[in-house]
Amino acid sequence: MTHAPATAPESTAGAPPGNGGRPARTRRRFREIGVLLAVVLLIAATWLHNPGFLSTQGVRDLFLGATVLVILAIGQSLVLITRNVDLSVGSVLGLSAFGTAALFAALPGLPVPVGMLAGAAIGLLCGLFNGLLVTTVKVPALVVTLGTLYIYRGLDHWWAGGRQINAADLPAGFLQLGRTGLLGIPLPALTAIAVAIAIGVYLSRYSSGRELYAIGSNAEAARLSGIPAGRRVVLAFALNGALAGLAGVLFTARYGTVDSTVGTGMELQVVAAAVVGGVALTGGVGTVFGAVLGGILMTTITAALPIWQIDPFWQQAVVGVLILAAIGLDRLLALRTARRLRGGGARGA
């Protein structure tokens, strides 16, 4: 029943015609360059409109404003890439921000790094709990983290008991963190950059990082390939929690005043930042670089709109349009790539 041709022609294997090259990678790069371009254009235009936007203080504000969202977006990308989502990050940030402040207030002699580590550890525990719930109970992460969103916030309220902790209760060395910097870049922003590099290298260069993509891309195939999917997903959630904790610590260091409502509603902004930066909710796609750019774009818009004297009322609408535009762009690029990749057997015409 063989249908082998009499002579051996070239394989029917579908390498793209010509030098189809590295379409996916190009696409992704193109995707992020699009966001980068948007950021640069926005900053340049706003600066031309009002040069005060890029004064030393303006730049500092931009950096500080972006720090928290960027760190959260990086963490969220880890989870999104595995085709999960963590909606509890706003509450985790709040819990860790208040926890750190409460710790410093209660133990005035506490060394600053220890207090900061404690904040990150609170986040780590929260993330670990999320991850274990998602992998053992096998309930969609959306539902699990929606639940823990309220649980963590509830804990925060219970701990605070209506209290507010002020800068006066915090050690000066800790508050100084938000003010010192290197070459005009504030320390928190430097931390965000370090986090971006570390997670970026992890995701692209380490096998367990690549396995996160594999899990999000095809969970069944990941299982068959012997990837410890459960452990990797727990790791992604735990890292995300720790980063949310770190963001909480930086929040406290910057503002000095915290109560139990810090970070409320932040989760959707974080997911939005990641999506705008090209991290797909369907898993398997996205980079840290993209998430960072998404976070920067969102904060820059928030900072720029008042300068353009646009009613803050429109700000949310602008963000909404941005999300839809980003998703539209993704879809368009995906279709284009798909067409090019399918070109394999196309020799008919």
């Binding site: 029943m1 063989t2 249908h3 082998a4 041709p5 009499a6 002579t7 051996a8 022609p9 070239e10 394989s11 029917t12 294997a13 579908g14 390498a15 793209p16 189809g20 090259g21 590295r22 379409p23 996916a24 990678r25 290298v201 260069r205 380490y206 096998s207 690549r210 396995e211 993509y213 594999a214 999000g216 891309s217 095809n218 069944e220 195939a221 990941a222 299982r223 068959l224 390939s225 012997g226 990837i227 410890p228 898993g283 398997g284 796609v285 790539t337 798909a338 990749l341 399918r342 070109g343 394999g344 057997g345 196309a346 020799r347 008919g348 015409a349």
Partner: protein, 505 residues
């Protein structure tokens, strides 16, 4: 090497496995010896895939033992089996669409460079080397997304190659491959055998089994039937053992009265995919679209049906022009399409058998806009009986069925719309001999009742056995139209490779 002295790299002893009330394996034993290609044949649903997954560490046997080099081993997870030197090529490719081809091949075991990072250059080089051995031209850096099924299968094979496995399990690796590619795979398989690997080859193509394998094990209903050296067997014996009865005729083609032309396709063109495709089909006629994988056959069918767009040309059903790109209009006009990839395009795998079988008839079956389970069940049960569907309960997920029975569900779903034209893409891919004959008989009966059938098939015997007329495609064009009397292996093959008989040496 005397096999009695050296323990086989892998053996199963008296393994049983049940899923709920279904006993998939009932005391199966199998010995895979080094330097031997072992064939496993059996009807679909005989437990072959369960056996593969047991060896792969996906399923754990309920009772019985797995012996690795003679020592009892527990494969609790795929990683355990991989550590024992087992590599598996699954029937359905298991790739990561978003990762590059090279990453797909090395996922979970990427070569490391300094600082524990992935050595991408080595990964790429080894991938290219594996592809060179297989004689295929796939860019290691392209994503797996968009690869044809044949190419996906080749990536799976490359994955197994680079694992340098001592035990290689191939579950119908050739189902989607063209003859050349399959032949290359066999060359590689023989090389591995000669290097001392143990191979298990599962296929429904007997010519492959007999030319490649040293030993054939037959299983039926999850139980061992026989294991003999290939030299002592012939096809008839094996088929008899597989089905446990005589298979009368594999291609029960009935003569059917040909009526009026129901489908006319004229100069259909999709730039870069196919060009100038014209044909017509009469009621009661079976027309086969033959050709090599990638010749554009499925694409033509999809365009005619309206799933894909086309750039020029026209389609008419019973004389009326059909709007392009609108499957709903096609269904209303009496067309039905049984797709090539039934798991992704033909069925909703997690949904119940009943729901799947009636999914084209929801509106008809509902009363006052509400769809009752009773109406669905009644309809599904009736079709199940007509098509001789084997199932536990209509509420079971369709994924629990064997390939052949899944295909019947897809057929039920479409036949219940009472179509005038049925497109069926690879009607028996991955389906065992017994069910194959059933599907063929069914198609023949349907044609006898006046249905016009357009069949895409890569299996030449099926094309020659079933079709009244054969259209052969090569690189997006129809290169030959052969009557049943004219069509034979040679004429179809020449047209499929784009040669004239005189040119071929």
């Amino acid at each position: 090497m005397d096999p009695s002295e050296v323990p086989p790299p892998l053996a199963l002893v008296d393994v049983t496995k049940s899923f709920g009330s279904v006993r998939a394996l009932r005391g199966l034993s199998l010995e895979l010896r080094a330097g031997e290609i072992h064939a496993l044949v059996g009807e679909n649903g005989a437990g072959k895939s369960t056996l593969v997954k047991t060896i792969a560490g996906v399923h754990r046997p309920d009772t019985g033992q797995i012996l690795s080099d003679g020592e009892p081993a527990v494969f609790a997870a795929p990683a355990d089996a991989q550590r024992a030197g087992v590599a598996v090529i699954y029937q359905e490719p298991t790739l990561f669409p978003d990762l590059s081809v090279a990453e797909n091949i090395f996922i979970g075991r990427q070569p490391r460079a300094r600082l524990g990072t992935i050595d991408r250059a080595r990964m790429r080089a080894e991938t290219a080397e594996a592809f060179a051995r297989l004689g295929v031209d796939i860019d290691p850096d392209r994503p797996a997304n968009g690869l044809s099924i044949a190419d996906q299968q080749l990536v799976e094979i490359a994955k197994a190659l680079t694992r340098r496995a001592r035990v290689l399990i191939m579950d119908e690796p050739t189902a989607a491959l063209s003859g050349v590619e399959a032949e290359r795979l066999f060359t590689v398989a023989r090389t591995l055998r000669d290097a001392g690997s143990a191979l298990l080859f599962i296929s429904h193509r007997f010519d492959e089994v007999f030319s490649l394998c040293d030993r054939i094990t037959v299983v039926r209903d999850g139980a061992f039937v026989s294991c003999d050296p290939t030299a002592d067997l012939d096809v008839d014996t094996v088929v008899r053992r597989m089905v446990g009865r005589e298979v009368t005729s594999l291609y029960p083609k009935e003569e059917a009265e040909h009526g009026d032309v129901v489908l006319e396709v004229e100069a259909l063109t999709r730039t870069g995919v196919f060009a100038d495709v014209s044909f017509s089909v009469r009621a009661g006629e079976i027309v086969a679209l033959a050709g090599l994988v990638g010749a554009g056959r499925s694409e033509v069918v999809r365009a005619v049906f309206g799933v894909d767009r086309y750039d020029a040309g026209s389609v008419r059903v019973a004389g009326d022009p059909l709007p392009a790109g609108r499957p709903k209009a096609s269904i209303r006009a009496g067309m039905a399409l049984v797709p090539e990839d039934r798991r992704h395009q033909g069925l909703v795998m997690e949904e119940s058998i009943g729901r799947n079988a009636t999914s084209t008839r929801r509106r008809v079956l509902s009363r006052f806009g509400l769809l009752g389970a009773r109406a669905e069940h009644a309809e599904a049960r009736a079709w199940g009986e007509r098509l001789n569907l084997k199932y536990g309960s209509l509420d079971d997920a369709v994924s629990t069925l064997s390939g052949g029975n899944q295909q019947k569900v897809v057929l039920a779903k479409w036949l219940s719309t009472e179509p005038r034209v049925l497109f069926i893409d690879e009607p028996t891919r991955g389906i065992d001999v017994g069910t194959k004959a059933e599907v063929h008989r069914l198609l023949s009966t349907l044609a006898g009742q006046g249905l016009a059938i357009v069949m895409v098939s890569s299996e030449l015997p099926e094309v020659l056995g079933m079709a009244d007329r054969v259209l052969v495609m090569h690189e997006g064009r129809i290169t030959a139209e052969l009557d049943r009397a004219q069509a034979d292996e040679e004429s179809v093959m020449y047209a499929a490779t784009g040669q004239r008989p005189s040119e071929a040496a």
